[in-house]
Structure formats: structure tokens, C-alpha cells
């Protein structure tokens, strides 16, 4: 569904920018000045960003939040064996909306402990890929439609991104959101990736733009003004692209065009951006990526899109081996980066406008393989931001006993909430109407509700 209408707010922004440029921009009492301040106020109120953190490999998320009652912990320890987190190290959390047990955070999540208790983070429990709700009996009896193949990394990663497992889909739900909501006439897309090419941010009419934690590099030998001869070289490459007869040559050449144009735009915007890295305790890739996202958000008024969706990734979650130490490091790095990101956003008054959320291929087996876990299905995700109705659990906590109705086998937990519901809740906050939600999430109607409530 192509958005043909230039929205009123875009028109005001563009005309105000044009007028401001013509008038000298600093006037405050002229009609132009009023238009400028109106633009600023309106834009500040309208701006929203979603930040997706993809935990690549499948996060063993049932070790993030652990039951602490005697019986609950005993069940947990019995199934997790040598992977169980020691009870006296758990950090108590008190979900405001109640929970089936008392719980504690894995101590590695210390950086976000306060954030949860203060209401800026929610946990969404037992989410996974689904086409429709299924029970264990359904699966054992008759092969209902499942997001197949389960437990395969690249397929499950793809399903989380496309929200359309029945089809060999080429678009993802963030790309479809951009098709619906972004200004398709602008060169900078709504979707910005720090994880390279991906399905999530690919739409039918919109695509994503890739940057890194260092920003958007300029093409040294083609960018006008950087070196002598650049203009001539750029023109020649452009001409070669235009005269290409081969389909792959054209796509390659068009990528050069995009890279040139968007790098200039982004670099101009970032030139006076505040340094966000000082908010981050660690210098690792997740912290560096989120620091750049914070920087981009800080200059959003100089970027053409009204709203943005960012994708960052973090690898290493496929803890078949050495899980006890590896997972602790991963959770600590992740939660520290998220907490620091929250601080950075606060410094530019964007806490309420930005919602950050995790996704992952799958949860993992409750049972151990000796020193790690194998591929599972349902898991826990985190949502963070000022607009989040936090300090709460959403969804269901599964039964941790092997062989329960939640256990497909070896502690692979059948999800009771679908990632469609999760993503649709975020998309609704982002501004999609019910009709748009149905278009972006084709399977959403198979589930009881499209709004899990964690965005208030």
C-alpha cells in the first residue's frame, strides 16, 4: 500500500525549512519564525523510533528470570541441572501486575534491575514464532501449521523478521511498516540497519540503509569535493550503471548511488551531533552500535523521515557450549548497553519517544547437554522505554517441569504468545491503525489480541 499523500506535518517541515533557509532562520517573531517553532514543536511531539536488538543465535532467556519460591526454584533447578543460576545470587523483581511465582533476575542483568523495578522495562514471556496458537496435543496428533522448520537458525531468524512463515517471504514487518508509513519520496528510508542487509527492514517499496557504529563513510574517490577528479569519476560510474545490460551490474551500480547520496545526507546531519559514547561503560559492538543510534536520534530533525526503525545485532547467543560463563557475559554486556542507551536518550529528552526491544531466533532447551543448551522455541523478550508500561510481566510463564503441557520435548517450550502480537503492539504505538496492522502482520488475526498492553 503506497502512501501517496504527503502528510501535513511533512509539508510544514519542508516549507518551513525552505523558508528558514531563505529568511536566515534565526527570526523568532516573524511568521516564519512562528512556523519554525511550530515545526520544532510538532516534530518533537511526533517523533518516534523503534530500536530492535537482535540476539543472534537464540538467547537462553529462561535463565534471565528465575522463580524464587521453594517449589518454583526446585522445579527450575531440577530441569536446568548444572545450568541453574544459584538462588542466592538472583536479584528480586516485583512485577506490579503479579506473577505466578516470585522471581529474580539473573545477576548478570544487574544494570537493568532498577530499570525494571522503576517501570521503564517490561518482560514479555514465552513468545515465539507461530502461525496460529497451538497446543502440545495439536502438535503430537496432527501436524498443525507450524512456522517450519523449527529450531533452524536461519529459518527462525527469518520468521521473526518476516512475520509470515507460510510464505517464502521477501519482505519483513519493519519494511512493510515503512511501505505504509514512511515518506517514500525521500531518499533516506525509515529503516536504518547496523546489521547489514536483512529481511526485517526490506519492504516492497522501501528498503533499508546500512550504517555502522562509526556512522556512514563517504566514498573517498567519488564524493564531490573530496579529491580532485571525483566529480568526473562519479559521472563515469553513473554512466556505466545506466548503460549496464546485466541485471546484477545495475543493482551494483544503484547501490553505489544510494551509498553516495545517503552518506552525504547522514554525515551532514551528524556533523554537530553530541558525542553519545560517553554514556556507555563498555566499548563493545552492542554499546558502540547503540551509541551511534543515540547519535542519529539526536539529529533526527535533520533527517527527512518523521519516524525511524533501527536494527542492531549482537552475536554469540548460541550457547551449546560453556553456557554458564558465556551467557553471563552476554547478558551483562547487553543489559549494560541497554541501560546506558536509556541514559543517553534521557539526555536528549527522547526517553518517551524511543522504544527498544529484543528479539531472538528462539529460546533454548530447558535441559542441559552437559555444558550448554540446544535450540528451543518459546522465550522471553525485553522492552524498554519511557512509553512502556513497565515493571510488569506480560504473557505466560511456562511450566518448567519436563513433560508438561508446555514442553514439546527436552524442555523446548511451546510459545503461548506469538511474535506477531509482540511486534504489532510495538507497531501500534509507532502509529499503525488497525487496518495497517493487519496488512503488516498477515497472521495477526489468528491470535486473540493484537495488543499485549505493554505500551499502555
Amino acid at each position: 500500500m503506497k502512501n501517496l499523500n504527503i502528510s501535513r506535518r511533512n509539508f510544514i517541515r519542508r516549507s518551513a525549512l525552505a523558508s528558514a533557509a531563505a529568511s536566515g532562520w534565526l527570526a523568532t517573531n516573524t511568521p516564519l519564525g512562528l512556523a519554525s517553532s511550530a515545526k520544532a514543536a510538532e516534530n518533537a511531539a511526533d517523533y518516534k523510533a523503534l530500536v530492535c536488538i537482535f540476539l543472534l543465535g537464540g538467547n537462553d532467556s529462561f535463565n534471565m528470570v528465575v522463580p524464587t519460591s521453594t517449589g518454583g526454584y526446585s522445579d527450575y533447578q531440577s530441569v536446568r541441572q548444572n545450568l541453574a543460576i544459584a538462588k542466592d545470587t538472583l536479584l528480586p523483581i516485583n512485577p506490579i501486575n503479579g506473577a505466578p511465582d516470585t522471581y529474580g533476575f539473573n545477576p548478570a542483568l544487574a544494570p537493568i534491575h532498577d530499570m525494571f523495578n522503576q517501570g521503564n522495562m517490561a518482560l514479555v514471556n514465552n513468545i515465539g514464532t507461530l502461525i496460529r496458537p497451538v497446543t502440545k496435543d495439536d502438535i503430537l496428533q496432527g501436524q498443525p501449521e507450524l512456522p517450519s522448520p523449527l529450531f533452524s537458525h536461519n529459518d527462525q531468524q527469518k520468521h521473526w523478521q518476516t512475520a509470515w512463515p507460510q510464505q517464502n517471504q521477501k519482505t519483513g514487518w519493519a519494511g512493510r511498516i515503512a511501505d505504509l508509513k514512511s515518506d517514500l519520496g525521500e531518499t533516506l528510508p525509515m529503516n536504518i540497519s547496523l546489521l547489514g542487509t536483512n529481511f526485517l527492514q526490506t519492504g516492497t517499496n522501501s528498503n533499508h540503509y546500512s550504517i555502522t557504529s562509526q556512522g556512514a563513510p563517504l566514498i573517498a574517490a567519488l564524493t564531490p569535493g573530496l579529491f580532485p577528479g571525483n566529480e568526473e569519476r562519479a559521472a563515469l560510474v553513473q554512466s556505466l550503471t545506466e548503460q549496464s545490460t546485466h541485471i546484477m551490474e545495475r543493482t551494483y551500480g544503484q547501490t553505489i548511488n544510494r551509498a553516495s547520496e545517503l552518506a552525504s545526507l547522514v554525515n551532514t546531519a551528524l556533523v554537530n551531533a553530541p558525542d553519545m559514547s560517553s554514556f556507555f561503560a563498555n566499548q563493545n559492538s552492542i554499546s558502540d552500535d547503540l551509541a551511534m543510534v543515540a547519535q542519529m536520534i539526536s539529529v533526527e530533525q535533520q533527517l527527512p523521515q518523521q519516524q525511524q526503525i533501527y536494527l542492531v545485532g549482537m552475536s554469540g547467543w548460541d550457547t551449546h557450549d560453556n553456557q554458564v560463563s558465556a551467557h553471563a557475559t552476554l547478558l551483562n554486556d547487553l543489559s549494560q548497553a541497554m541501560a546506558d542507551f536509556n541514559q543517553a536518550l534521557g539526555s536528549i529528552n527522547r526517553s518517551n519517544d524511543v522504544t527498544t526491544f529484543t528479539v531472538s531466533d528462539f529460546g533454548r532447551t530447558l535441559t542441559s547437554n552437559g555444558d550448554g543448551t540446544d535450540h528451543g522455541w518459546g522465550g522471553v523478550q525485553m522492552v524498554m522505554g519511557g512509553a512502556v508500561d513497565g515493571g510488569k510481566f506480560y504473557g505466560n510463564m511456562p511450566d518448567l517441569n519436563l513433560g508438561s503441557a508446555d514442553d514439546l520435548g527436552d524442555g523446548r517450550i511451546i510459545p503461548t504468545t506469538s511474535m506477531d502480537q509482540y511486534a504489532a503492539t510495538l507497531a501500534k504505538w509507532f502509529g499503525l491503525t488497525d487496518i495497517e496492522l493487519a496488512a503488516a502482520f498477515p497472521n495477526l488475526g489468528n491470535f486473540a489480541t493484537g495488543d499485549l498492553g505493554f505500551m499502555g
Binding site: T171, T197, A221, T251, A259, S315, N369
Partner: protein, 570 residues
């Protein structure tokens, strides 16, 4: 078991012998003997009596030589880049003789080369990459190295993660691919399976039989990925690589979770070759893992296609049964050969091409299944690969991955460094790619990737585009600019470790733009440059004064290597 394995202090020269040297039959004697036979045939036509009609003239000797353009094109498919000498050689002796020459060259192994670094060097993955570049750019056994590179995208291990501090071990792993590139797939699969590098990477090393009391079951990592990625893939295939479909038109999965579990029980009881006992860990990153029967599950397992592995087997006998079970699955031919074709020739082979090659995998003509030399030959000499008519097909071919674009440029201009080393540090940071350095076992790009837009809409795939996002493209173009404009023989901004191109030949053509362009057309683009591109390049040369020979040459080389036309192999 520690988290990180480092092999810097563990190198034992005695363990590092190269094996399987091929006999070194000289190509010249083969060629001469062929010519001799041809002369004998043509000479037999004379000496008839007057009563007999004159015998028909003998057929003209079949010339094996090919055009330089065809030679350069073939070299793009089979090596890390054409050079003037290699074009001349191949043009002269033709495809078959050249392939025989390549099959006969002894394998250049990476481990002995990395071992030449002094022990007190702080050896890192950058040193391993240096060996990789040195081999790619200078080794004689180009086809073998190119095939090993293709195999490294299928049988993936990586220095990203737990293997980060094992450059020796990874060099040795790469040599498994090099040694087996023209061998048999079954042997390749076994060496990969028992490699301690793979054992660590996919956690088969140290995998134990189940502990039922504690509900601890064997690790499934390797069991899953060896099927999904190294042998049969996820769905049942026809011989031509197309998917089999069930009655509802849906693909048929090759295995389910239960099968993975059964295989996981097979892959138990293996640990480092030097362990005196299971828990007494002595890291050995070179030798195949060793079995410990007490930690192997010897129960019955049911594998693919209902194969029952009876109870009571040893770790080794069970492993053999399992690898045979995988090897004999009909999927292996199409699954593996499709990816080799994509790496060497074209991203979108026709089903009939895949079928012809898969048939050779199934039987090389002498009853052997899995003969990779025969498979490689079939891939490269198939009409679909060789027929220059493919150039009319505007979707035939593949985007060259970044490493090949650099290697082709460097080989074309006889690149070398004063130190004899070929450092391209942090290759993957700048280009998105490096040997054995992927972020996951799924390699840098999937065989099924299609960039959105024209290519995807046409139902085609182009895997290499998966790492051609705006960021990596920009970095790659910037590294090209740096290397072409500053890293040449005679340049000022160089040091002993710099890889420098030698453009002395090209400089002699600088005052003749048309000749320079034609020269680069053959050397870099196999003669495929369009008239339009030639015109543009000549015009751009003429804007630079003839006295600035370096500027003319380097600017033109740069424009060619970043052009869409050079970037796509066809």
C-alpha cells in the same frame, strides 16, 4: 575446559607434514605426445596405389588452443585472477590440458607457511590471513586453492568467537579443504567432522553420552548443522536441485528433531587426540579427535531413510555408519554441487546443469561416488559454463565477492611486497569478508539470498549481494582507491609490507588510450568491455595530460575495478 583455545605455544613441527603429494607429470610432455599423435594421423593419408581412390584428406588437427578472451574468462572462473602469462598458457594449451596441469600441481598448504613465522611472533589471525593472500596471489595450484575457498563457504568454521586465538589450528583446518579439494567428498566430510577446530566450533568435542538421571542429553549442534549445511540441506531435492513437493505442493523436510537427536547420540565420546583421559584436557588443534568409548553412547540409533545403527557399536563404527548414511543420501550431489557452481560460475544455474553435474557426483564414470575432481571438471567444462553465448544472457554469472575483486586486480598487475608478505589486515572489516571469519556457521551469504528489487522480482538469487550493503561497498571502494592510487611500485606512501601493483607494462601504453583500454579489457574483463565503456574510458584518459602517465594508468585501473561491469563475473 577453558573458554578460549590458543595454539601459539602448542605448535609441534613433527605433526605438520603435508600428505598426499600428487605426481608431477609435466604438462609439456603431455602436449607433445598429443601433437605427435596428430602428426602421425595426418601423415597416414599418403602412399596409396593408383587403383585406389585417394583416401579422404585427414581431418585437420583439432586445435586445442582458445582465444585469449576465452582463456581470461575461464581463469576468472577457476583462479584468483588472470595474469598475462596464465592467459597465454591457457590460450595455448586449451581447457583440458590446463585442467590436467592444475590437477597435477602439488597442493600449497597453509600450515607449513604459517609455521615459518618465528615462534616469538605474536601470531594472530592477521598472519593466517597473510598466508591466505600470499597463496591466493602467488600459488601455482590456483584451481585447488579456489575450490578450497569455495568449500570454506560450505564447511564453515570461523575465527569469530571461540576460535579467535587459534590461527595455527584454523590454517590446518583450511588445509583439510585444500588437500581434499580434488579428492573424495566422503573423506572430506570425515576429516572435517573429526577436526578439533570443527569439534570446538560446533561443540562435538567433549560431547558425552546422556546422563539419564540428570536429564542431560547429548549436544545437538553438530548433528544439526552437518545435515543442514554440510551435506543434505533442509528439504528433499531432485537430481536437478529443484525441491521435491508433497501432495499439497509443499517442500518435504529431510529430517526432523528426532533424527537430529539420534545423530547427536552418534557424535559422542570424541575429544582431543592428546587427552590421556576424558577429563584431562590437552589441547591439540591439529590432529583428528580421538574416541573415548566410556563417553560414547552405544545404544541403537535410527538415522536417515530408516537406517538402523545397531546397539553395541564403537564411537568409530557408529561415526562411520552415520557419515555413510549422510554421504549416500541422494541430496548430497545436488545440494553440494549447486553451491560449488554458484561459487565458481553462476548464481542461477539451470536445473539441467545441476543435474549433469550431480550425475557426475553420483558416479564419476568409473563407479565412484563423490569424486570431487570429476565434479569440478564437470562444472567448469559444462556447456553452460564455457559457452560464450552465455554472455547474451543478461542474468548469467555472479557478483564477484570482494576478496576475488582484490585478488584479480593484484594478480593482474603482478602485485608483490618487498617483505615477501601479503598483509591485508582486518580484511573482513573493510570488505565484509575474509577466509574462515564468518559471523556464524551460515557463512557470509546464503545460497538463496536475493537483493530486493529487480533481481528478487525476477525470481533470481545473487548471494554475494548479501554483504554488499552501502557500508561494505563504500569501504571496499575506499580500499580500492587507496591500493590503486597509492600502493604501486614507485609510489611514495609505501612500506616493506605493502602489497604493490606493478604497472610498468601499462605505463608504456599511457600515451595510447585505446591500446591501454584494450589491454585492461583483456586482462581484467576477459574482453567483455562494451564499446560504450571503452569510449567513456578513452575519453576520461584524454582529459589527463599525456605527460601524467601514472595518473592516466591508475585512474583507469581504478575506474575499471570499481565498475559494475568488472564487478560481475559472466
Amino acid at each position: 575446559m577453558s573458554n578460549n583455545f590458543t595454539d601459539r605455544q602448542l605448535v609441534n613441527p613433527q605433526t605438520c607434514t603435508s600428505t598426499k603429494q600428487r605426481s608431477n607429470s609435466h604438462w609439456l610432455s603431455y602436449a607433445l605426445s598429443s601433437l605427435t599423435i596428430l602428426f602421425l594421423i595426418s601423415a597416414c593419408g599418403g602412399g596409396s596405389s593408383e587403383d585406389d581412390p585417394p583416401p579422404p584428406p585427414p581431418p585437420p588437427p583439432v586445435s586445442v588452443s582458445i582465444s585469449p578472451e576465452k582463456a581470461a574468462r575461464f581463469l576468472t572462473q577457476t583462479t584468483f585472477g588472470a595474469t598475462p602469462d596464465s592467459i597465454d598458457n591457457l590460450a595455448d594449451i586449451g581447457y583440458q590440458a590446463w585442467l590436467d596441469q592444475q590437477f597435477a600441481y602439488p597442493a600449497t598448504l597453509h600450515l607449513p607457511l604459517i609455521m615459518e613465522y618465528p615462534d616469538d611472533d605474536e601470531l594472530t589471525q592477521n598472519h593466517r590471513q597473510e598466508i591466505w593472500w600470499r597463496t591466493a596471489l602467488t600459488a601455482d595450484d590456483q584451481l585447488r586453492q579456489r575450490v578450497a575457498f569455495a568449500l570454506s563457504g560450505i564447511f564453515v568454521v570461523s575465527d569469530q568467537g571461540i576460535l579467535n586465538e587459534t590461527p595455527y589450528g584454523l590454517a590446518n583446518y583450511y588445509d583439510i579443504l585444500v588437500r581434499n579439494a580434488f579428492g573424495n567428498y566422503r573423506e572430506l566430510l570425515e576429516e572435517v567432522t573429526l577436526s578439533p577446530m570443527m569439534g570446538i566450533y560446533l561443540s562435538m568435542l567433549g560431547n558425552e553420552k546422556p546422563n539419564e538421571a540428570l536429564n542431560i542429553r547429548p549436544d545437538e549442534n553438530f548433528a544439526r548443522e552437518v545435515m543442514q549445511l554440510f551435506s543434505i540441506g533442509l528439504v528433499e531435492l531432485n537430481l536437478d536441485g529443484t525441491q521435491q513437493l508433497d501432495d499439497n505442493g509443499a517442500p518435504i523436510l529431510t529430517y526432523d528433531q528426532n533424527t537430529i537427536k539420534e545423530f547427536a547420540h552418534i557424535y559422542t565420546g570424541w575429544h582431543f587426540a592428546d587427552n590421556p583421559s576424558w577429563y584431562d584436557v590437552r589441547v591439540n588443534v591439529f590432529e583428528s579427535m580421538k574416541p573415548f568409548e566410556d563417553f560414547h553412547d552405544s545404544g541403537e540409533k535410527i538415522l536417515l531413510n530408516g537406517l538402523i545403527v545397531p546397539a553395541g557399536g564403537t564411537a568409530r563404527s557408529d561415526l562411520d555408519a552415520a557419515l555413510d548414511n549422510l554421504f549416500n543420501h541422494p541430496n548430497v550431489g545436488p545440494f553440494i554441487t549447486h553451491q560449488l557452481i554458484q561459487s565458481l560460475v553462476t548464481s542461477n544455474p539451470s536445473p539441467s546443469y545441476i543435474q549433469r553435474v550431480s550425475s557426475v557426483f553420483n558416479d564419476n564414470g568409473q563407479g565412484e561416488r563423490g569424486d570431487l575432481e570429476a565434479v569440478i571438471k564437470a562444472i567448469l567444462t559444462d556447456d553452460e559454463a564455457i559457452n560464450i553465448g552465455a554472455l547474451q544472457d543478461t542474468s548469467f554469472g555472479k557478483l564477484k565477492e570482494p576478496l576475488l575483486r582484490f585478488s584479480q586486480m593484484w594478480r593482474a598487475f603482478n602485485a608483490s611486497a618487498e617483505s615477501g608478505k601479503y598483509y591485508f589486515n582486518n580484511t573482513s572489516f573493510f570488505t565484509g569478508q575474509a577466509a574462515l571469519s564468518a559471523h556464524s556457521v551460515f557463512h557470509f551469504f546464503l545460497p538463496s539470498y536475493a537483493p530486493p528489487g529487480e533481481i528478487s522480482n525476477a525470481g533470481l538469487v545473487a548471494p554475494e549481494f548479501q554483504i554488499l550493503d552501502e557500508n561494505f561497498l563504500t569501504y571496499t571502494l575506499n580500499v580500492f582507491a587507496y591500493t590503486v592510487f597509492t600502493q604501486f611500485q614507485g609510489g611514495e606512501d609505501t612500506d616493506p609490507d605493502s602489497i604493490l601493483i606493478d604497472v610498468s607494462t601499462e605505463l608504456t601504453l599511457a600515451d595510447d588510450p585505446s591500446a591501454l583500454v584494450e589491454h585492461l579489457n583483456l586482462l581484467l574483463m576477459a574482453g567483455q568491455m562494451s564499446d560504450g565503456m571503452k569510449t567513456e574510458l578513452i575519453a576520461s584518459i584524454e582529459t589527463i595530460p599525456a605527460t601524467e602517465a601514472h595518473a592516466r594508468v591508475l585512474n583507469t585501473i581504478f575506474l575499471v575495478v570499481i565498475s559494475p561491469q568488472f564487478s560481475v563475473q559472466k
